[in-house]
Amino acid sequence: MSKQDPVTEEVKRETGSGTDLWSVIIAPSIWALHFLVCYVSAAIYCEKLGRDAPLADIRLLVIAVTIIALAGIFWSSIRLWRAHDRSLTDDDFEYEHNTPEERHRFLSHVALMLCVLSAVAVIYVTIPMLYLESCR
């Protein structure tokens, strides 16, 4: 994509296409869903099976959900990586010019960094499940 003529790209974006606010929040939304699934499933599991229940089964579920979540964030990152680039005008990360292309690159940059943050947060949330043994 980035190999194409930048001017043509810019004209295309005039129609309002490119990264929008919804795609900016994809990765954090994946984090939120992952978090909810982990918490809700573990809470129900422990409530229904009692405090002595080992976490082995639910751990598999959480790891599976984590892999899916990270894959989703990775997919979103790849998509953004293609679009993400430095500012067309200044070759920096400021994105301070008033063209749709600049807006598109700005949002892609924000979204990409949010992917990183969300991936970190997903991994963080998974850690307790890896070392705890039971529902106590």
């Binding site: 309002g16 929008d20 606010l21 900016v24 929040i25 954090p28 939304s29 984090w31 939120a32 978090f35 982990c38 918490y39 573990a42 809470a43 129900i44 422990c46 409530e47 229904k48 405090r51 976490l55 990360f93 400021e94 994105y95 301070e96 010019h97 008033n98 063209t99 749709p100 600049e102 807006r103 700005f106 949002l107 940059h109 924000v110 960094m113 949010l114 943050l117 969300s118 970190v120 947060a121 963080y124 949330v125 850690i127 307790p128 499940m129 705890l132 529902c135 106590r136």
Partner: protein, 828 residues
């Protein structure tokens, strides 16, 4: 030139504020914002006085100044007022006041809604605060934990619940207004990457309010049903669980901390670049950290519940997320520090407060990371360590930035300057007093002093620390009062300040003091700091070379632009001064206030007043068909005066409101499944109902009502308004049938809501849906009438779009409720 002068005069006439006693009917953002601001500070002073009572009482051990009962009322009210009547509303106040100027709008899209929100806030706030003078203030702590609050509290708990529910209406109204404002009312050319950072923060916080406040509203409903009608949601003996309240409260309560923090730190994002005399460093990093904080802050609520005996794996999830949120919070602080370091700093009072804010907040953040670790939290839970932590975050993260904002924006809003000497004195008194009051509390807490005790024994070893804290609190108060005095003292002899007194770069400083229309003409914005980057910028605005430089038709107008690239799409005619918002708020206030005392007749009367005022307001003031299709806004641009559907601000307002509404419904549904998890048998043995039959019938009728309402919009757009009216009438009947069917389920199976939490939550869900179906029927009737009287036509159908949108949400909730209450008992 005379043309230009005539234009200016016309603008001034159209935007003139009403005078005399009619001034109270004003709706313009510059006035409502000021009122909001003044009210928030009045409440703040009141709560501050309560804090001083607390500190005097704790000054010496075994003090008998106030009784234990009164002390409970004092600390409950102190927390409640500071959180609900100061910290959140001050965000709304500041945003309403300065956001339109920053975005280059003449006003916010729904000025009357702002006014409505303000009156709700004022009435509810006075009601809640006034209760202490009748010795009946809430007294169970600002988070009102049952069973203490349900079993023991007097009327105070009802005052808390209903008063605050009422005020939450104001917050959601403000969220709707501000989100639509940021997304749709930016000056032409202000792409989303050029939006002032304050706008970004407001957008994030508005979104957070939509997901944070509704769970509390749902919790309030359950709580009040228990207090009023004895439905046992939180009563363990009848299948309830107090933990449900803690969940619902903190799903609201933790994001609320960030709802308070983010808009205040947003002021720093505006102030720091001005005094560093350079653009902000890492604009996109700050945006992403605001967004990231907004999301992650929803994964923290259980860290307030670490000591409730939840499984350690649950604690682990929330502990991890609590640590993770420090990452985005840190990014923005580093960006501010980098801006200061890269610029050449101008010494000034606002900058002092900014630096003080960063220092104090960082200490609070660090203790936050400590208490996010569950084992440490076990030790200090409910001690003065927590009191110290939360005051460091709130005063560093909110009060100091707001003080900086006051010193910074005072010349813009009031046209006069604050005294530099007073400002510096005030800052140092506040900083020293604050640290003297709250730093020792870390130790007092570690030594074991619990929160909320009205006195302590001399042998505990807490005496000296408490004395230091009390002295510090008074020094802090003196600094605060000094700044307030500087703001309100008469400045008649002072010259009016020059325009853009701080040499700032952002758009709000282009306004001249003393008019309510913002800028003379709306400029094309090409950069983040137009006043710095375009030396000709102010001249172009003043000479009316921008857009919408006149108001020929005598209407108040502002530009609506597209979300991402800010292309003009509509000239929006905004609301003019009116008594209706105030009357509507008074009516709604009667509903909430009289419900507290169970005076049903006046309450009903209040509901009628509220509904009539709202209907009249909508009928006369919304989706008006303009006298011509387009308007010439200058620069050869002809822009439509009427748009409908997702291009219109009204559609977005409905979408945003209903998102919040859906969140509240999901919170109620969470209650249903929460009860399922805690009961081995669900539904409990011996309670059968509501069966599958009636919920199924209800679901089908609700779907019909939805389909017919949507159909009405479609056939109307196809040029058949008569058929659309028929569809709406049939939809009305279907909704009625759906509601009756839904009620028939628990009714015919004899579910008694006072017997057990299960029938109670089923009834609560049913009542929620019934209320929504009734509102939906009112809307169908409204749409019918609009079509009948030609106020809506096949080409001017904004009303029908919005009604159909409401029904998307209402039908989704209704069908989901029917499926859950009808189907779920058969799965378990």
């Amino acid at each position: 030139m005379t043309d230009k002068r005539a234009e200016t005069e016309q603008l001034a006439k159209v935007w003139d504020n009403p005078r005399g006693w009619r001034a109270l009917s004003d709706v313009n953002n510059s006035i409502i914002g000021l009122w909001y601001f003044a009210a928030a500070f009045a409440f703040m002073l009141f709560a501050g006085a309560l804090a001083l009572i607390i500190r005097v009482q704790l000054f010496v051990p075994d003090n008998t100044l106030v009784t234990s009962e009164f002390y409970s009322q004092v600390f409950t009210l102190h927390g409640t007022v500071m959180m609900f009547l100061f910290a959140v509303p001050i965000f709304e106040a500041v945003a309403i006041l300065i956001l339109p100027g920053m975005l280059g709008a003449r006003d916010l899209p729904f000025p009357r809604l702002s006014a409505f929100g303000f009156w709700c806030y004022l009435i509810g706030g006075v009601f809640v605060c006034g209760s202490i003078f009748f010795n009946s203030a809430p007294d169970a702590g600002w988070f009102m934990y049952p069973p203490l609050s349900t079993e023991q509290s007097g009327i105070g708990a009802d005052i808390w619940l209903l008063g605050l529910s009422f005020i939450e209406v104001a917050s959601i109204a403000a969220a709707v207004e501000l989100i639509v404002g940021v997304l749709k009312c930016r000056a032409p050319g202000m792409h989303i990457n050029l939006t002032p950072l304050y706008g970004w923060y407001v957008l994030v916080v508005g979104g957070m309010i939509l997901f944070a406040f509704p769970p509390l509203i749902a919790g309030d409903i359950l709580f009040e049903l228990e207090r009023l009608l004895d439905w046992p949601f939180f009563d363990v003996t009848r299948g309830g669980d107090p933990l449900l309240w803690q969940h619902l409260f903190w799903i609201f309560g933790h994001p609320e901390v960030y709802i308070i923090f983010l808009p205040a730190i947003a002021l720093l994002a505006m102030i720091v670049p001005t005094f560093a005399q350079r653009e902000i460093t890492g604009y996109s990093w700050i945006v992403l950290s605001a967004l990231g904080t907004g999301f992650l802050s929803f994964g923290l609520w259980v860290h307030h519940m670490f000591t409730t005996g939840l499984p350690s794996v649950s604690l682990g999830f929330f502990s991890a997320a609590s640590e993770a949120v420090a990452v985005p919070t840190g990014i923005q602080i580093f960006a501010f520090i980098a801006t200061v370091m890269l610029g050449s700093v101008v010494r000034s009072v606002p900058m002092l407060f900014c630096l003080g804010a960063l220092a104090v907040f960082i200490i609070g953040g660090l203790t936050g990371v400590m208490v996010a670790v569950a084992p440490f939290d076990f030790q200090v839970h409910d001690t003065y360590f927590i009191v110290a932590h939360l005051h460091y975050t709130l005063i560093g993260g909110m009060l100091f930035p707001v003080m900086a904002g006051i010193c910074y924006y005072y010349p813009l809003i009031m046209g006069k300057e604050l005294s530099r000497a007073y400002g510096i004195w005030s800052f140092w008194l506040m900083l020293i007093g604050f640290n003297m009051a709250f730093l020792p509390m870390h130790l007092t807490g570690m030594l074991g002093m619990p929160r909320r005790v009205f006195t302590y024994g001399a042998d505990r070893g807490w005496t000296e620390l408490n004395m230091i804290s009390s002295v510090g609190a008074f020094i802090f108060a003196a600094g605060f009062l000094l700044l307030i005095w500087d703001c309100v003292r008469p400045k008649r002899h002072q010259k009016q300040v020059r325009r853009n007194v701080w040499n700032a770069g952002t758009l709000e400083w282009a306004a001249r003091f003393g008019n309510s229309w913002g800028m003379r003409s709306i400029p094309e914005v090409n950069s983040r700091y137009p006043l710095w980057d375009d030396k000709d910028f102010l001249r172009k605005i003043d000479e009316g070379e921008g857009l919408l430089a006149d108001a020929k038709e005598g209407r108040r107008e502002t530009l609506v632009t597209s979300v991402l690239d800010a292309q003009p799409i509509q000239v929006l005619r905004v609301g003019t001064p009116s008594w209706l918002p105030m009357i509507a708020a008074a009516g709604l206030g009667c509903v909430f206030i009289f419900m507290t005392f169970k005076w049903w007749l006046p309450m009903g009367l209040g509901a009628v007043i509220f509904l009539s005022a709202v209907l009249r307001w909508l009928w006369t003031g919304s989706a008006e068909i303009p006298e011509k299709e387009t308007k010439d806004i200058g620069g050869g641009k002809h822009i439509p005066l009427y748009v409908s559907g997702y291009k219109s601000t009204g559609w977005w307002a409905m979408f945003i409101t209903m998102t919040g509404d859906l969140t509240a419904f999901l919170a109620l549904l969470f209650g249903y499944f929460f009860f399922w998890t805690i009961h081995p048998d669900f539904p409990p043995p011996g309670i059968d109902g509501p069966g599958w039959f009636w919920p199924a019938i209800a679901g089908v009728f609700i779907l019909c009502a939805w389909g017919l309402t949507l159909g009405a919009r479609l056939v109307n757009a196809a040029g058949r308004p008569g058929l659309a009216r028929l569809f709406l009438a049939l939809g009305w009947l279907a909704a009625l049938a759906g509601g009756l069917g839904l009620m028939a389920g628990p009714w015919t199976t004899g579910l008694d809501p006072t017997a057990h939490a299960y029938p109670a939550i089923v009834w609560a869900l049913v009542i929620w849906i019934l209320a929504h179906l009734a509102t939906g029927m009112l809307m169908q009737g409204y749409g019918f009438a609009r079509l009948l009287y030609g106020k809506a036509t096949p080409t001017h159908d904004a009303d029908l779009w919005n009604i159909a949108l409401y029904w998307h949400f209402a039908a989704f909730s209704g069908v989901l409720a029917a499926v859950v209450i009808g189907g779920f008992p058969y799965l378990t």
